[in-house]
């Protein structure tokens, strides 16, 4: 049901029956290693290209999520997925293997929440009984796509971010047994915001205004106070973008405690891992939410969270042509059903 200008309230409370996260070798050394279902110790993952490895992690995440939900892929009505590679081939190729009717999404690193919002909408409005949604990124495949060859010795500035090798997927159903389960309760779809940042090594700062815009819209549309949530988590703003977003929100009069304002890009790695400003990539928010955060919610640490995945909608061509970076953010609230 539409509420306000750009938000949906999911009155039927779609249930997230299961979720899964898959990571790479660098993530295995990270802070959230225990929250991954599958960790690969090699970037190639036994495949003959990084793009195939990229496809593999999404397949594994979706298969694991379906399996954990005691379902089969034949039961699943739709799959919603996306990534950062040209023409989102890893997601589409995974859909070829899985043979689930498929929506390919592109929202850069905001794809995870674009997918979860749409999946919840489908379930909430009787458009589907079971939907699987996911997002993924592979460090080497994405670096190849957007930046220099992985072995090229260029010096990255401290504002640069490290693309997460990871995939996350969740299975949503329309079941009536909701007690104690994770449910999606609302979503806010963001608009494209561009405040003139054109440095592709400073994505956090480029995306921060989009995150702030969507969060403000969310609280306006739903007439809620930020204290409603135990945690507000942004996708991959990292060290530079996260404090900027917080400042923008506080300037707008939203009372958000910095303790309750976290960022997936800052959560995924250890302090001593050399990732400059933090993690990024479509798989960053997906793996952190569908792995770590959902585990924390199932353990009772958080009751209500708002995840705001942020995406930079640039291409390698657009920044070479000196275009600034348009960004977007989508928010989905997840609660533990009483």
């Amino acid at each position: 049901m539409l509420k306000g200008k750009q938000s949906w309230v999911f009155a039927n409370r779609p249930v997230i029956v299961s979720s899964a996260a898959v990571g790479g070798p660098f993530e295995a050394r990270g802070r959230l290693a225990n929250d991954f279902d599958i960790l690969h110790d090699d970037l190639w993952m036994g495949q003959d290209s990084y793009e195939k490895a990229h496809k593999l992690i999404l397949e594994e995440a979706i298969e694991t999520a379906i399996q954990k939900g005691n379902a089969t892929k034949e039961d699943v009505n739709f799959m919603l997925a996306g990534d950062l590679v040209n023409q989102i081939t890893p997601s589409s190729f995974a859909a070829r293997t899985l043979e689930i009717p498929y929506f390919g999404l592109f929202g850069a690193c905001s794809t995870s929440m674009e997918g979860l919002a749409l999946a919840s909408f489908l379930i909430n409005n009787q458009g589907a009984k079971k939907v699987v949604t996911g997002a993924s990124s592979h460090n080497a495949a994405i670096e190849k796509q957007f930046r220099y060859p992985t072995e090229y010795g260029s010096q990255k500035p401290p504002t640069a971010q490290w693309t997460v090798t990871g995939a996350g997927a969740a299975l949503l159903t329309d079941t009536d047994e909701k007690a104690g389960k994770l449910v999606t309760t609302s979503a806010t779809i963001g608009k494209v915001v561009d405040l003139g940042i054109s440095d592709p090594f400073n994505m956090g700062a480029a995306m921060a205004p989009a995150a702030a815009d969507t969060i403000i819209a969310h609280f306006q549309d739903l007439q809620l106070d930020p204290s409603y949530y135990d945690l507000i988590i942004t996708g991959d703003l990292a060290k530079i973008g996260s404090p900027i977003a917080l400042e923008l929100l506080q300037k707008e009069g939203l009372q958000i405690n910095s303790e309750k304002f976290k960022d997936c890009g800052l959560m995924v790695y250890q302090k001593d891992q050399k990732v400059q400003a933090g993690g990024s990539g479509a798989g960053c928010s997906a793996a952190v939410l569908y792995g770590h955060l959902f585990n924390e919610m199932r353990n009772g640490k958080y009751q209500r969270i708002l995840l705001v995945a942020t995406g930079a909608l640039l291409s390698p061509l657009s920044f070479q042509q000196k275009e600034s970076i348009p960004c977007i953010a989508h928010a989905v609230s997840i609660e533990v059903h009483p």
């Binding site: 793009e51 090229y152 010096q155 990255k156 401290p158």
Partner: protein
């Protein structure tokens, strides 16, 4: 063609600048100086090696030295070390000939999965191509200036 920033974008720029981590320029320069200098020191040693043990002169030792340094860069790139040196040293490892070697070799490795012709062949010089183009062109301009100065009897 620089685009005019809107007042909103200018306001945001101010907020952004406050939070942005700056490149540590002085520290980077010092690191680049020492790492770049060390690479050149190795190059000099290789050069002397060819002069003392083979029949090369100071003028002719350049070619085998360059080839050897690129060979070292190839090993370091292949073993995944050169990009880490690059992150530490910046221009220090990018400017010497080893940096040129690294740019060619890393691109060749990167695009191996697209085959030898369109992958390796087509992409090998995607970074180094501009170095070759502008290197040759600037050499041409400098040579032209020198020739003109010689003709005019200035030098």
């Amino acid at each position: 063609m620089a685009k005019q920033k809107s007042p909103e974008q200018k306001r945001y720029e101010k907020i952004e600048q406050k939070h942005e981590a700056k490149r540590p320029v002085v520290k980077n320069c010092i690191k680049a100086f020492f790492v770049g200098g060390s690479i050149c020191l190795v190059g000099q040693a290789v050069s002397y090696f060819y002069m003392y043990y083979f029949h090369f002169t100071e003028q002719t030792a350049g070619n085998p030295t360059v080839a050897t340094m690129i060979f070292f860069a190839m090993l370091l790139t292949g073993f995944g070390v050169y990009d880490k040196i690059g992150q530490f040293a910046g221009a220090g490892s990018a400017v010497p000939i080893t940096g040129f070697g690294n740019s060619v070799i890393s691109a060749a490795i990167e695009h191996r999965t697209e085959g030898f012709v369109l992958g390796v062949g087509g992409n090998m010089f995607k970074l180094a191509g501009s170095v070759i183009l502008f290197g040759v062109f600037s050499a041409f301009v400098v040579a032209l200036i020198k020739t003109l100065l010689l003709i005019w009897g200035v030098i």
